[in-house]
């Protein structure tokens, strides 16, 4: 592809992800409303679709206050980190055959895992630099949660890599032309979905910011647009995880009749709706339950899954 074409693709994917993230704020609130027998935002524009715009204007005009006891430079960098890492991991996702920023990159999967680990820094630094008890507790929880769930996240993808024989995401999608990996790698799919929820700190795994006990956890002290960055970063994280589940397990762009791009978007949007459904339906676990669940159930499951997959592939 030419450099010009590449830049157009980059801009389109970035712009698409950002506007999707903004739209997602509205979609999530409407869907939550639907599932809780109420309406959600329906006043600003048709069906309330301009609500994120109104929110953004409100956030921009709010005072961006950083507390005097905070470590100011780190405090300001932290929200940018999560925003950047979430957007960067989207670069390795193949949207359609030949379309994607660096979809053919032969270490795409590792790059995504690396970005997920870096994203953990954002919340930890944010919680640490805020220098208040609630933020620190939120940051600590985020650290423990994201580090442990990253383990299964990586391991659950190992099965996919074994089957596809490549770390390149485009290659993985091409290998699913006949059979989506959700069938042979069902356990991997479930574990990756749960780990993805934990990694984006979404309900039911939003312990780092659990409102009921920690006010807002690691972003308690944030206001104005730096809070907005955390907020949008979370939504981009959801988009990224959904896009990646689509890529790894649901056959990416593969699908009958409709064009590949439409299939990809459709699968991603359905997954996003599932994420919202989780938020609407699930209670938040206790922190020790979260940890026990991860290490005592998910880790063995992934290891068994990897072992069986390896055996099946290795046997003639």
């Amino acid at each position: 592809m030419t450099t010009g074409g590449q830049i157009v693709v980059i801009i389109m994917i970035m712009g698409g992800a950002l506007s999707l993230a903004a739209g997602l704020i509205w979609v999530e609130r409407r869907l939550l409303g639907l599932w809780q027998d109420r309406y959600g935002p329906n006043r600003v524009g048709p069906f309330g679709i301009l609500q994120p715009l109104a929110d953004a204007i409100k956030l921009l005009f709010k005072e961006d206050w950083s507390p005097p006891f905070a470590d100011r430079s780190v405090f300001l960098i932290a929200p940018a980190v999560i925003f950047a890492t979430a957007l960067l991991s989207l670069a390795v996702v193949p949207v359609a055959p030949g379309i994607g920023v660096v979809a053919e990159w032969n270490v795409g999967l590792l790059f995504f895992l690396a970005m997920a680990s870096l994203g953990a820094y954002s919340v930890i630094l944010g919680g640490w630099a805020s220098n208040s008890k609630y933020s620190l507790l939120g940051g600590l929880r985020a650290a423990a949660q994201m580090l442990s769930y990253e383990v299964f996240m990586g391991l659950s993808l190992a099965g996919v890599v074994v089957l596809a024989g490549s770390f390149s995401l485009a290659e993985i999608v091409r290998a699913q032309a006949d059979l989506w990996y959700v069938v042979p790698q069902f356990l991997g799919f479930v574990v990756f979905l749960i780990a993805g929820l934990a990694e984006t700190r979404r309900l039911p795994f939003d312990l780092p910011e659990s409102e009921t006990e920690l006010i807002a956890g690691f972003h308690t002290e944030y206001s104005g647009m730096s809070f907005g960055l955390f907020f949008v970063g979370e939504y981009i994280g959801i988009i990224t995880i959904s896009a990646l589940i689509t890529t790894f397990f649901l056959g990416g762009w593969h699908g009958p009749l409709l064009p590949p791009l439409v299939w990809f978007l459709l699968k991603t949007l359905v997954l996003i709706a599932v994420f919202v459904l989780f938020r609407a339906a699930m209670p938040r676990p206790r922190f020790d339950q979260l940890m026990a669940w991860g290490w005592k159930i998910l880790l063995p499951i992934t290891l068994i899954n990897l072992l069986v997959t390896g055996a099946v592939v290795a046997l003639p």
């Binding site: 409303g33 639907l34 109420r38 309406y39 339906a281």
Partner: protein, 171 residues
């Protein structure tokens, strides 16, 4: 795992339920008649002010938001010279209505009193006094009361004996 799927399914079914929301400015929630909202001062069925300025409401108010000044007309009928309720403080508990001996002060089902300025929430007597008897259409305090203020003479109310002539020795 099963319980997770079950709760997801239960929540998903709510997609097809009726929504509970009242779309407020267009569609109002039905309020029961005894709903405690905006406070009014009612009048007798004859049109006289019911309030006898006894201060019981002001005393009973837990947040001290009622203020008034008693006065009398030339026939001895007590009434408030001015009567002020600060609705920015009122908690709509209804204790003033409980305390009032004459059914004068009443809470009615109306909550649409928003203002852009806080001082506009201080209601004076002319804002509070309404034309009718409110929730108690037939009650008239001075028809039952023992004193005569030009409404009736002593002994004329429903359950009252005529006054005893204390100078007569007859039984």
């Amino acid at each position: 795992m099963v319980f997770v799927l079950r709760s997801l399914w239960v929540v998903l079914q709510h997609m097809f339920r009726k929504r509970e929301t009242y779309r407020y400015p267009e569609e109002k929630a039905p309020l029961p008649p005894r709903w405690r909202g905006r406070i009014v001062l009612a009048r007798d069925p004859d049109g006289g002010e019911r309030c006898v300025a006894c201060y019981l409401c002001a005393v009973s108010c837990p947040v001290d938001c009622i203020a008034l000044q008693a006065t009398e007309d030339d026939q001895g009928r007590r009434y408030p010279d001015w009567f002020r309720i600060n609705f920015s403080r009122c908690i709509y508990c209804g204790l003033c209505e409980e305390a009032c001996p004459t059914y004068a002060i009443q809470l009615i089902p109306d909550y649409e009193m928003s203002e852009y300025r806080r001082d506009k929430l201080v209601y004076e007597k002319e804002h509070l006094l309404i034309e009718g008897p409110g929730k108690y259409p037939h009650y008239n305090f001075y028809r039952e009361a023992g004193v005569s203020v030009g409404v009736k003479d002593p002994g004329e109310s429903r359950e009252e004996e005529p006054p005893v002539d204390i100078r007569s020795l007859l039984p």
